[in-house]
Symmetry: C2
Subunit: 203 residues, 2 copies
């Protein structure tokens, strides 16, 4: 039982690293089993097919990402109780974290899945959808809390503003991947942060 968990998460580790580096399709089961030092039969013992692997990876990734956001904004809240400043601090921490990630943030997993749609079954797609909707809800709530104190200078759709956090991160990561630069994602977050300052700052 212990060995099962070991092997299973070892497969996920290796698969995740490879998928982040070169994409899901380009990651062969052959190389996963070579990396994990198991047989092909062993792989299919744990995962029915590549789809099941994708699903497990997404589930794990979303959990990690949610915890990351929880911790990040909990820390920010410790530093400043005001919701606006908490958000601004949280975004700064997020930007710093992205800069420190050498190979790039796993946020890619979401976009990667979105763009290789037909490779995955409905379960994987729905998982992806729910993750983004979860972030929308999370950030929307935070922005509404801010808006109660700081009247926004322009009226904005709060759902869309919540989505913008995910959108800016994903977009930044696309740029980063395509440009082969390193700070695009964190720069984009910092610009978004400036946006929030302008939007909510008292006149």
């Amino acid at each position: 039982m212990d060995q099962k968990l070991d092997t299973r998460s070892r497969i996920l580790d290796i698969a995740e690293a490879s998928v982040l580096e070169k994409g899901f399709e380009a990651t062969s089961i052959e190389e996963i089993v070579a990396g994990a030092e198991i047989s092909r039969g062993g792989f299919f013992y744990h995962f029915k097919d590549k789809n099941a692997l994708a699903r497990a990876m997404l589930e794990r990734y979303i959990e990690v990402e949610n915890k990351l956001y929880d911790d990040l904004f909990a820390r920010a809240r410790e530093l400043n109780d005001d919701p606006l400043h908490c958000m601004l601090i949280g975004l700064k921490l997020l930007a710093e974290m992205l800069e420190e990630m050498p190979t790039g943030h796993p946020g890619c997993v979401i976009a990667s899945t979105a763009y290789q749609d037909r490779l995955f079954d409905e379960g994987v797609r729905e998982l992806n959808r729910q993750a983004i909707l979860g972030w929308r809800k999370r950030f929307r709530a935070m922005f509404e809390e801010i808006a109660e104190i700081y009247k926004p200078r322009e009226t904005v759709n709060m759902d869309a503003l919540g989505d913008m956090v995910s959108g800016v991160v994903e977009g930044g990561l696309v740029l980063q991947r395509a440009l082969r630069e390193h700070n695009n994602a964190s720069e984009q977050i910092m610009l978004f942060r400036t946006y929030l300052k302008l939007l909510f700052a008292p006149k």
Copy 2:
């Protein structure tokens, strides 16, 4: 000669539609030749391999996209000569255009390529990179023109702000694909537009 061009662009049309719908990997040469009503041999006569197809698609797409931006902001300039208002009008036009596109904007092609990296050769990746750098330059110039007239309320990195146009579009398209909603990209652009209004509007 005429037939060659016909067939070649017919292949590109069919491939592009399929790639936008389900991704590059999921698009088989089999189905392209079926759609274009040619033989497999005919396909390989025009394109050495799938990589060559990707390259041709990207080249064509980037050309179309650049022309689109040219036309869009030329039209915006006709409507208002002030650089800030021209930008705001242009973004509104872009948002409206994205809403009218039923199957989603081809912007996906850039992200799609970025996330399936290792499938493509250096030529394709560089093409992708240059396209984004081109947009950075384009929008950076526009923002600098605006900044000469309207002093920005916060100092921002102009390259990053230029990138933000591409980033917001790409990020919005990722959301749209993953959520299966329809207006995410245009909503994100409208939020970015609000950002610019706040950033450059006189105090």
